[in-house]
């Protein structure tokens, strides 16, 4: 028996960054908004206060901050023809659950994408000729200039600290000279750099590169955002990524929006409410609401004028497939859009080991770093290289968490007396130069429903068919060479190369930057949603988040996710609410 609830104007499915931003904007416009979150309520003083937030075993190794694998996970295979098997515990990436979503356990690294990243196909074809047939990259249906005011807004919400490299076309020293023009400076100064960043900067400058501070949503000073939410100065405790911030020093829905949103009379949040599917009118053209199940196993139908899928990208794809909206992608024929252009990030780098000097990585923060963008995007000439795009090269000091981190020189055994001695010697003496590579869409990489494995409610879980491509490996090898040159100039005694090999392995942690599957585009023939993140098939259904990225750039996605949400909200409020229906004619 399904209980029918009173209707609302808009329902958010999932309550992380995008659900909170959209709910804030729509309630400001006067709508009655309900958010449904499958996890529980989480806040700083209850769930990760400074008295016990620094608990490595609990939050990372026992996954308390993440989606519970026993309820739903993802299956992986590297290629068609293999049998996908479930990730029985998370490894390579860590989707969140609970209020704030994965945005509770991010590092706070807040880059904009490059203007050329929004024209990946046309920009590269104009400059280098046709792309490989299997590389299914495409242009975004929105430009950097269109998103710029929304980037600015999200960065001010988050209190991002950095040094602008380009303000209204004026190139500023100490910033990123390659970035698109900003309408304003960062709201805060950069983080306070430590030993490793100074060494990186000197080495990069020595090579003629352009180092600048990593843009950080860890607070470089006390900050009150435009909503009036107060954030505290970061204390550099080294527990950002994989952890909630105990000190109100990292931007999240909890620290930047919820103190305001939760008090509004036209907003409600229902936790432990897992949405089963989007319901539609008989002709399929209109969403009538969502069906969800609560913690006691009772089912409810929540009618809504507008439905927003605001879950993690992987879960948004699954909800669309389970709801039967749109055509699943078939790599053999190229037909269907749903699950197409799943992308990730191609990570590699170099480790620098010092003889007598100490990096003291425990004095760290998720977005404490220096970076060069000289080998990202199309910031360098790719003629004759056999690949497009690239990645940033950075030196961050994020942590020295001892269960996770055992820096040892190459050739050290994995256990025993020699291992222990090497960890003792090197634990505080290693820094890394990381390559954060872009991920270009490829015909064979995709998401669909697993034919065998089910979630805790008996529904199919998502199947990922994913491997690194020739493009990925060529790009990664080239940019890792450049990272090695910087690393070799940082005064260490030895440098290890951490290269990226195929096949993609689901277990070693790489990054929680899963993109695509519900991509945005110019027409129903190339995408799931239009430039305003509105479903082509169901015009009162909107899909937020990095699932919209046609391919992934060489940056962390959160700034672009935030900007896209504000962009979509702006046009929904200005246009859709006055004239509901398709905002782009197919």
């Amino acid at each position: 028996m399904v209980t029918r609830l009173p209707p609302v104007d808009a329902v958010m499915v999932g309550f992380g960054w995008t659900g909170a931003i959209m709910a804030q904007e729509l309630t400001d416009a006067g709508l009655d908004v309900l958010a449904l979150e499958r996890g529980g309520w989480r806040d700083t003083p209850t769930d990760f206060p400074t008295t016990h937030a620094q608990d490595e075993l609990r939050y990372y190794w026992r996954h308390e901050g993440f989606q519970a694998e026993n309820r739903a996970t993802v299956t992986l295979r590297n290629k068609e023809g293999q049998t996908a098997r479930p990730m029985r515990r998370w490894g390579s990436f860590l989707p969140g659950t609970g209020v704030g979503g994965s945005g509770v356990h991010w590092n706070g690294i807040t880059y904009r994408f490059l203007p050329s990243d929004f024209r990946t196909r046309s920009h590269n074809e104009e400059r280098y000729g046709p792309l490989p047939e299997d590389m299914t990259v495409q242009d975004w249906p929105v430009s950097y200039d269109e998103l710029e005011p929304h980037y600015d807004r999200f960065e001010k919400l988050c209190g991002v600290g950095g040094v602008a490299g380009n303000v209204n076309g004026e190139i500023r020293p100490g910033g990123n000279p390659f970035e698109g023009p900003r309408s304003d400076d960062y709201p805060n100064p950069p983080m306070h750099m430590t030993f490793a960043q100074h060494r990186f900067r000197e080495a990069a400058e020595g090579l003629g590169l352009n180092p600048f501070p990593v843009p950080s949503a860890n607070m470089s000073r006390a900050y009150t955002n435009p909503l009036g939410c107060q954030l505290a100065p970061c204390t550099y405790c080294g527990f950002c990524e994989k952890y909630g911030c105990g000190n109100y020093s990292k931007a999240s829905a909890q620290t930047t929006i919820l103190p305001v949103l939760m008090r509004k009379p036209n907003f409600r949040l229902r936790t432990e409410a897992e949405v089963l599917r989007v319901e539609r009118s008989r002709d399929g053209g209109r969403a009538t609401g969502v069906t969800f199940i609560d913690a006691l196993g009772e089912e409810f139908f929540q009618p809504a004028e507008m439905v927003f899928l605001c879950a993690y990208p992987l879960e948004n794809v699954r909800l669309m497939l389970l709801s039967g909206i749109g055509e699943p992608y078939d790599p053999a024929t190229g037909r269907g859009q749903l699950g197409r252009n799943y992308c990730y990030q191609v990570m590699s780098g170099a480790d620098v080991f010092y003889e007598d000097e100490h990096v003291n990585g425990f004095v760290g923060a998720g977005a404490l770093g220096m970076v060069v963008d000289d080998y990202n995007g199309d910031n360098f000439d790719h003629s004759g290289l056999g690949f497009i795009h690239g990645g940033y090269i950075s030196c961050t000091t994020t942590n020295a968490r001892p269960i996770e981190s055992h820096p040892t020189p190459e050739g050290t055994p994995k256990w025993g007396a020699a291992f222990k001695a090497a960890v003792k010697e090197n634990f505080l003496k290693k820094t890394s130069v990381g390559v954060h590579g872009g991920s270009m869409a490829w015909r064979s990489n995709r998401l669909d429903l697993d034919p065998t494995y089910k979630d805790h409610l008996g529904r199919p879980i998502l199947r990922m068919t994913y491997d690194f491509t020739p493009q990925d490996l060529a790009m990664s090898s080239y940019v890792t060479d450049k990272a090695m040159r910087i690393a070799e100039g940082m005064g260490g005694k030895t440098v290890n190369r951490n290269k990226r090999d195929a096949p993609y392995d689901s277990m070693p942690y790489q990054t929680t930057h899963n993109t695509g599957g519900t991509i945005m585009g110019a027409s129903p023939g190339d995408s799931v949603v239009n430039r305003y993140l509105q479903s082509w098939d169901v015009s009162n259904l909107f899909l937020m988040g990095a699932g919209a990225f046609p391919q992934n750039a060489g940056y962390n996605p959160t700034d672009t996710v935030g900007a896209l949400t504000y962009w979509s909200a702006r046009h929904i409020v200005a246009d859709y609410l006055r004239n509901p229906g398709p905002m782009v004619q197919a």
């Binding site: 309520w41 494995y453 993609y504």
Partner: protein
């Protein structure tokens, strides 16, 4: 957050001297379970403010002295393995001295050990190397089955002796063979067990002491990690020099204990 719902609120007070008796632990556990249930049913809809209440922070589940899984004989094998993964020497304590086996025993008796946190639906098969753990064993069941297999192997290969009674170099031979997959067992994945046991030994050496390992913070002292501190701003300009900061755990550190109070339990 389901992994929190049933067990994290149980267990004694981690502060020394304030640990409840076994009876009160059981009573508290029942009360906490009832509270969690009622709280969940009643706290579903939030409006008009944040649903925060004072003094209600969500303390970790760190096991109790009563939370055991291993038999004494199994414990001796695990303890001997820990001692080879991170051996103690004349200068530095190792995983045995840190109580890694105590940690592992408590973890095996926890929801994690029972496989309640992982996706454990079938079908099961070996899978590709890129697909991670695929064994049809909860962590606790894997320890039990693998220890029996190791003991069976040792009895045959070493004249009836068990793993704990072998010389160190013989123990290393057995561990190396499991690690390198030259020693396999019929119905138990030896390599999966070795990898899990190695990972758990490292956890037990470097975890917060409230979990029963890292006794006296020897793991943290070995590498110079200052523990659960939350403000390093005074040391941002360390300039590459070594910082010797005494470690602090979630429950404080031994120097903060008042005279006459018992040491944190192990």
């Amino acid at each position: 957050m389901t992994c929190r719902s049933h067990d994290t609120r149980r267990g004694g007070d981690p502060r020394p001297g304030l640990r409840p008796s076994r009876r009160s632990v059981i009573t508290l556990a029942a009360a906490a379970a009832a509270t969690a249930w009622a709280g969940r049913a009643s706290a579903e809809t939030h409006r008009g403010g944040v649903p925060w209440s004072p003094s209600a922070d969500d303390a970790p589940f760190h096991g109790t002295r009563e939370a055991h899984f291993l038999t004494d004989a199994e414990f001796a094998v695990v303890d001997a393995m820990c001692a080879r993964i991170l051996p103690g020497d004349e200068n530095d304590p190792g995983a045995r001295e840190a109580g890694a086996a105590v940690f592992i025993d408590r973890q095996l008796a926890s929801p994690w050990g029972r496989g309640e946190l992982w996706y454990m639906q079938g079908p099961f098969s070996e899978g590709l190397p890129t697909q991670g753990y695929q064994a049809d064993f909860t962590p606790a069941a894997l320890y039990r089955a693998a220890i029996a297999a190791v003991e069976g192997h040792c009895a045959t290969a070493f004249d009836g002796r068990g793993f704990a009674d072998l010389a160190e170099d013989e123990q290393d031979q057995v561990l190396t063979a499991m690690d390198e997959e030259t020693l396999t067992f019929d119905h138990v994945p030896a390599k999966s067990f070795f990898d899990m046991m190695r990972e758990n030994t490292i956890e037990g050496f470097f975890c917060d002491p409230i979990y029963g390992g890292n006794a006296d913070m020897v793991g943290w002292r070995l590498v110079g990690f200052p523990g659960a501190r939350y403000d390093y701003r005074p040391w941002l300009d360390h300039g590459g020099r070594r910082l010797d900061l005494p470690p602090v755990g979630i429950a404080g550190r031994p120097a903060w204990r008042r005279a006459g109070t018992p040491a944190p339990r192990r």
